[in-house]
Symmetry: C2
Subunit: 430 residues, 2 copies
């Protein structure tokens, strides 16, 4: 390997879609790169709900970061949790190791679940922002069916009622996948009771329709399709509190449930606050048109964390993060070559949400609406193509094809990392 | 489904090799069957060391029990932990649910790790008896390499020294797989240091040779092969204590290490003690030649838990459990048809241990020795054929073939079930 120490050091925080896109653009270029993440893997976040509903295995939606950057000699990986950024001396502080100095910094730490101060939501709700969230929800859901198998109606009401809060893409996808789980796969697993009669999914949305941002007819299609698949869709319904035994609505009603999936909102990663600058709505960092931090032309903030000066707020999509990461990386390279930066312009390649087997909605390039089987096939194609790593893709493909033709699901393991346990049912409120 | 309630109820404790073999023999027969396990999956225990060394994913060595018995209308599954057996009224008590009555009982709860009172072994050692054990060890080993990447020589001695205690098949296989992990796969993952120089595996065995029970030349071959692959093999070496920072030997020496893999011994499951009868060596239950409990012709104990009256103690192998499970099931069916029982006779189909790619030892039918590539191919064939479930087999095959040709390893995720954590490093000593 050539001597890299003389090259400018670019540190990228976050191995999500944005961070990896930046690293790809910097690979084998005249810079030294370190990508920092608290996990040792890149997670394919749009499919975490598939892990939660036992459709895909964790390994099928995650890939080792070192493996991804293996062939780039100028890219190294640091696993660690960033706890501070010193903009003066240009170093990162870690919870678990020595400081790391940077010449350029690309902050791509993404977003975390927002609870908007709803009482009990953080303690008793099930978010879907990390791979561990997906595993935790899977263990929980499968365990409830095992409980019902043993105790039946002796259990409290709502044991098999699954409430999904939030009618965006994640909420719609999770609700659709939960129904498929118990109407098809678990229905054959359990012989002592009919899972199709015992279980119930309720999708709760504060606004008056699902999938805000999609055209009217796609929103109507999604709602009708979910309803035909037995999802109870409740729009104009706001949540007041989440407890261990259900959800309290603002209209005073309580829905008994052990499973409140919190698919409702996100706020920028706490890393945003470490930059010492003004943050906007949901904690986003205001950046200049070239994605740099005001007053710090060598620091860039991208994806879910950024709000670009003079532009509309961009949606929380992998595409936004990937294009932003690539742009920031190119700006770094221009700076290395003493060239001025250029403004970032987002190209809308489209967005999509799947309701289940054969059914999805999509907006291609922000203007071509698509629904039904065709949209679903487009969704499958796009997601398979994006999954990082050859083997991952093959495995996912084998599993999905098998799933499709056998109406079966993956291994459905209840598997915590503790010793023979099911994992903690609720998060420690502390 | 026909009315099953009039049929005799056979309860099988344990969904391991023995329990499943019993259930298979009882499927679609004139009995009602409930298989009980604390997990909702059958684990392929001989390959847990592959999970621990990031060679296979957890889902590739485990399969949902309900899925396995799906096509047998007379077989149901109960997930739960047995805490007591009332032999008088013939019921099982559970930690987590109502009692379960039985007419016949087949106890196939297997074995757990034995620590032989070695100080610190249970707290700081890493056993390999459960799938969770495998995941825990994988997270731990991969995390140590990440630590070394950040801190390097500033870490205490022995951070990348892996001590495997026990020179039986599990110990030999784990030592061989650990070496392959860091000499091939991780060597390409880490760019800042040479994992092949930094890491070290020591295999410690109390007796004067590895693989007790195998012929002399196979034992010599295994030792030499491991040594050629850089495993330090220490025979005639007994362990006195395990601490957080290493292992103390009886000769007074201390080996600094953060990873003491405890592959040394097993004792019968605590379920054995619930039978209220005499237990023999390592907690095994003494059973009559037909595998029934003395005085209880409707209760059978098989596999790792049983010591058959008048027979040599059988080895802890899947084959023994499977043949015992089948025999017990057939005895139940003979009893249902008012026929007398027959004694159990074990047919030795062979045993094998793999040292790594291309290298294994095997004793076919207890008398044909095999070593090297041929033994390894036999090992691959036998293990693939035994893995339960079509899809599991295909996935494992795809992964292994990919592994073989690319010298690569699986996803290598550091993934606890907690939120963004690496999982607990050591077991809670409490």
């Amino acid at each position: 390997m050539p001597d890299l120490s003389a090259l400018p050091h670019v540190v990228v925080i976050g191995a999500g879609f944005g961070g990896l896109a930046a690293v790809r653009a910097l690979a084998k270029k005249p810079v030294r790169v370190t990508i920092v993440d608290r996990n040792n893997f890149h997670g394919f976040q749009p499919l975490y709900y598939q892990v939660a509903t036992a459709g895909l295995e964790p390994e099928e939606v995650a890939h080792n970061v070192r493996d991804i950057v293996r062939r780039a000699p100028n890219v190294d990986v640091r696993m660690g949790t960033v706890v501070g950024i010193d903009m003066e001396v240009q170093t990162l502080a870690f919870a678990d190791g020595p400081d790391l100095a940077f010449d350029y910094l690309i902050v791509a730490a993404g977003a975390e679940t927002a609870y908007y101060g709803v009482e009990g939501a953080e303690t008793y709700g099930f978010p879907l922002k990390s791979l561990q969230d997906g595993i935790r929800l899977r263990n929980h859901v499968l365990s409830l069916f095992e409980d019902y198998n043993v105790f039946g109606d002796a259990l409290s009401d709502g044991t098999l009622t699954f409430v999904v809060v939030g009618g965006g893409a994640t909420g719609v996808e999770t609700a659709g996948a939960l129904v498929e789980l118990y109407r098809i796969s678990l229905a054959r697993d359990f012989k002592r009771f009919d899972t199709r009669r015992a279980a119930h999914v309720i999708l709760v949305e504060r606004a008056d329709s699902l999938l805000a941002g999609y055209p009217e007819d796609l929103r109507a299609y999604a709602k009708e399709k979910l309803q035909r698949r037995q999802v109870e869709v409740r729009v104009n319904t706001a949540v007041k509190a989440v407890t261990e035994n259900g959800v309290e609505l603002e209209n005073g009603e309580t829905i008994p449930s052990k499973t409140i999936v919190w698919a409702v909102g996100v706020e920028a990663s706490p890393v945003a606050k470490m930059l010492g600058v003004e943050t906007g709505r949901v904690g986003r960092v205001k950046v200049r048109p070239d994605l740099s931090l005001p007053g710090h032309p060598n620091v860039f903030v991208i994806g879910d964390m950024a709000e670009v000066e003079g532009q509309e707020r961009l949606p929380q999509l992998a595409q936004v993060a990937m294009q932003g990461g690539k742009h920031a990386a190119q700006t770094v390279l221009r700076s290395v070559h003493a060239k001025p930066s250029e403004p970032f312009a987002y190209t809308d390649l489209g967005s999509m949400a799947t309701i289940g087997r054969n059914a999805a909605v999509a907006m291609l390039f922000g203007k071509i609406p698509l629904k039904g089987l065709l949209a679903w096939l487009a969704w499958v194609f796009v997601h398979l193509m994006q999954l990082v790593g050859f083997r991952n893709r093959v495995n996912v493909f084998v599993n999905w094809v098998a799933n499709y033709f056998t109406y079966d699901r993956a291994a459905r393991l209840i598997l915590g990392s503790g010793r023979n346990d099911r994992g903690p049912r609720f998060r420690d409120p502390a």
